[in-house]
C-alpha cells in the first residue's frame, strides 16, 4: 500500500497529489506536463517534495513535519526509466549486478533466464535492441527485490511492432509481482490492458483513484474523458434536470444528478443511426449533414453537425462497412447511456 500526499512548488508549476495506491497496477494518466513523472520522482526520492508525507507498506519514506526524508538508496523502489537508463560502460551482466543487494554471482544468470537475455549477458547496452534494453533494465530492478515498481512510460521508446509482445511479458510480470505498481502513461489502450486502477492527473493535481472500468465508462471530468479517448466534449447548460448543449443544438432530460456538471461528451464510436436505436434509450437525435469525411485505416471518420446549421462539428467514427449503410440514413442519435456528463 502506497500513501502519497505531497506538494512541490517549482517555477511556474505546482504539484499537489494525494494518491493511495493499493496492490495491483495503478495508472497515472495525464497529458505531458501534468506532473506524472515528477510524482514518481518524488516517491523514488530523487526529487524532494516541498511538503507532505509518503508512506510505503507501513514505512515512512518522507514526512516534512517529522523531517524524515529517506535517500533513494534506502527506499527500495524499482524505477523503470523511460529510456531504461542502463549504464553504457557496463555489460548487461554488470548492469544487473548493480541492482543486486547481495552480490551472488548466479543471480545475473537466473534473472537473464527469466528475462530471456542469457545470450546478451556479455554485451553492452549500445549493442541491444529496445526490447532487450527494457528486459535488461527490468532484470536489474528485480535483482534488488523492490517493494514497489514504478514504470515511466515503459513503451514510449519502442517501435510499435515490439510494443505488444513486450507489453504481454510485462503484464505477466507485474501481475505476479504482488506489490504496488505505479504505471505512468498517456496511452489509454495500454493503460486499459495493463492496469487495475487509474488516477487522472491534470495541471499538477490528481483526481481520486477509480477502477479502470468506471473511469473509462463514466469519466467524471473533462480531463478524464479526454484522456480516455473522448473526442467530442462541449460546454453544457444545466437547468434542473434539463441539459442543453448549444454547440450541438440539442437538449435533453437527464435522470442523473447534475451537480457541478458543465460539459457533456460523447465518444466518436458511440454515436449511432437513429433507425437502429430503441426510442426509449435516445437522449437526443437530429438530422445531420457531413462537414468533412476522413478515411482512416479501418474506420471512417465523419465530421457531422445538425443539418442547416453552422454548429460545432461532431466527430463520428464507424467501421467502413457501416459507412456504406449510412447512405440511407439521415438521422443520428445519442443514447442516454453514452452521453458523458462532465465536471
Amino acid at each position: 500500500m502506497l500513501l502519497c500526499n505531497i506538494s512541490k512548488h517549482l517555477d511556474g508549476f505546482s504539484l499537489n497529489v494525494d494518491i493511495a495506491a493499493k496492490l495491483g497496477v495503478t495508472a497515472l494518466m495525464g497529458a505531458s506536463g501534468s506532473g506524472k513523472s515528477m510524482t514518481l520522482r518524488c516517491i523514488a526520492g530523487i526529487s524532494k517534495p516541498s511538503s507532505g508525507r509518503i508512506e510505503l507498506g507501513g514505512t515512512v519514506l518522507f514526512d516534512s513535519e517529522k523531517k524524515i526524508n529517506l535517500p533513494p538508496q534506502k527506499r527500495n523502489i524499482g524505477f523503470l526509466f523511460q529510456d531504461y537508463a542502463l549504464f553504457p560502460n557496463m555489460t548487461v551482466r554488470q548492469n544487473i549486478m548493480t541492482g543486486a543487494k547481495n552480490k551472488v554471482a548466479t543471480i545475473a544468470e537466473e534473472l537473464a533466464v527469466k528475462f530471456h537475455i542469457t545470450q546478451h549477458l556479455h554485451k553492452y547496452p549500445a549493442e541491444l535492441s529496445g526490447g532487450e534494453k527494457q528486459r535488461c533494465a527490468l532484470a536489474r530492478i528485480f535483482a534488488g527485490s523492490p517493494d514497489m515498481l514504478m514504470l515511466d512510460e515503459p513503451f514510449a521508446a519502442l517501435d510499435s511492432h515490439l510494443r505488444f509482445e513486450l507489453e504481454m511479458e510485462l503484464s505477466e510480470l507485474i501481475k505476479r509481482f504482488n506489490k504496488p505498481v505505479l504505471y505512468v502513461s498517456h496511452n489509454r489502450s495500454e493503460v486499459y490492458r495493463l492496469c487495475d486502477n487509474i488516477v487522472i492527473m491534470d495541471g499538477g493535481k490528481n483526481e481520486p483513484l477509480g477502477d479502470k472500468q468506471t473511469v473509462f465508462k463514466k469519466p467524471a471530468t473533462v480531463q478524464a474523458a479526454r484522456l480516455t479517448g473522448c473526442k467530442n466534449i462541449v460546454p453544457a447548460i444545466i437547468a434542473g434536470t434539463r441539459v442543453s448543449v448549444p454547440d450541438w443544438g440539442i437538449e435533453f432530460k437527464s435522470c442523473e444528478v447534475l451537480n457541478d456538471i458543465h460539459y457533456v461528451g460523447i465518444r466518436a464510436n458511440n454515436i449511432i443511426q437513429k433507425s437502429i436505436a430503441k426510442t426509449s434509450d435516445i437522449a437526443a437525435d437530429f438530422e445531420f449533414e457531413i462537414v468533412k469525411e476522413i478515411e482512416d485505416t479501418f474506420t471512417s471518420i465523419l465530421m457531422v453537425r445538425k443539418r442547416g446549421t453552422n454548429l460545432c462539428a461532431i466527430r463520428w467514427e464507424m467501421p467502413k462497412k457501416d459507412r456504406a449503410a449510412l447512405l440511407h440514413s439521415k438521422d443520428l442519435a445519442f443514447l442516454h447511456e453514452h452521453i458523458l456528463l462532465l465536471k
Binding site: A44, I46, Q73, F79, F81, F87
Partner: protein, 220 residues
C-alpha cells in the same frame, strides 16, 4: 647536450597536472549542485586563470609564496624553506594555469551526462561514491582525458608565470620554454633553435594524442 630542461618540464607538468586533475574534477562535481548565484561565482573564480595573463597569475603566487609573502613568510619561519625560485614554484604556477582546462571540460562532461543514469543508480541502492567512480567518471572519461591532455600541453609550454616565480636557473629551474627565451637573450641562437625544435616535437606528439582521443567513440 643537457636535457635537464625537458626532464624538469615533464616533472613540473606531471605533478602540476595531477593536482589540477583531482582538484579540477572535484571542483566540477561540487559546482554542479550549487545554487545558481554561488555556482556563477565559483565558476568565474575557477576559470579566471584561463583568461588572465600568466604573469598576473605569477604575480599573485609571488605575493603569496615569496619569502616576504603572506604565506611564504610563514612557511619560511616554520620550515626554513623558500618556495619561489625553485622548480616546485613552477609546479604551483602550472597547476593553477592547468586547472581551468580540466575543470571546464569535466564540468561540461558532467553537465551533458544523462542525469537519469545517476538517479537510476540511486534508486538501485548504489552509493554516491560508487555512482561517481563507476558510473559518472567512466562515462565522462573521453571529455576529461581530452581536457587533461590539453592541460598537459599548456602546462609544458607555460612561460609567463613560470619565469616570474621560478626564473631561469640552469640545471635547477630551467624548462623547455624558458630555455628558448634564455638562449635567445644571451645570443645562443643555435641553442634557442634546438629547444624550439624540442618544443615543436612535443607539440606534435600532443596533437596526435588529442586527435586519437577525439576519434568518434565506437561505443556510445
Amino acid at each position: 647536450m643537457d636535457l635537464f630542461p625537458l626532464f624538469n618540464s615533464l616533472r613540473i607538468t606531471a605533478i602540476a597536472v595531477s593536482f589540477a586533475f583531482v582538484l579540477g574534477i572535484f571542483a566540477a562535481y561540487s559546482v554542479l549542485r550549487l545554487p545558481r548565484l554561488i555556482k556563477g561565482i565559483c565558476d568565474t573564480l575557477f576559470t579566471i586563470p584561463l583568461v588572465l595573463p600568466p604573469t598576473v597569475v605569477g604575480y599573485f603566487i609571488l605575493v603569496w609564496l615569496s619569502p616576504t609573502g603572506v604565506a611564504g613568510s610563514k612557511i619560511f619561519e616554520w620550515f626554513s624553506v623558500t618556495i619561489t625560485m625553485r622548480w616546485y614554484a613552477a609546479a604551483v604556477a602550472v597547476a593553477i594555469i592547468a586547472f581551468p582546462f580540466i575543470y571546464r571540460t569535466a564540468r561540461g562532461a558532467f553537465e551533458n551526462f544523462d542525469q537519469n543514469l545517476l538517479d537510476a543508480g540511486r534508486t538501485l541502492g548504489l552509493s554516491e561514491k560508487y555512482i561517481f567512480f563507476r558510473i559518472l567518471l567512466p562515462n565522462c572519461k573521453h571529455g576529461i582525458i581530452a581536457g587533461t591532455v590539453i592541460a598537459f600541453a599548456r602546462g609544458l609550454g607555460e612561460y609567463g608565470a613560470t619565469s616570474m616565480v621560478a626564473g631561469y636557473i640552469s640545471g635547477k629551474t630551467a624548462t623547455v620554454s624558458t630555455s628558448v627565451a634564455y638562449f635567445w637573450q644571451i645570443n645562443r641562437e643555435d641553442m634557442a633553435f634546438y629547444w624550439v625544435m624540442i618544443n615543436l616535437a612535443v607539440s606534435v606528439v600532443f596533437m596526435v594524442v588529442i586527435n586519437v582521443l577525439n576519434k568518434p567513440k565506437v561505443r556510445s
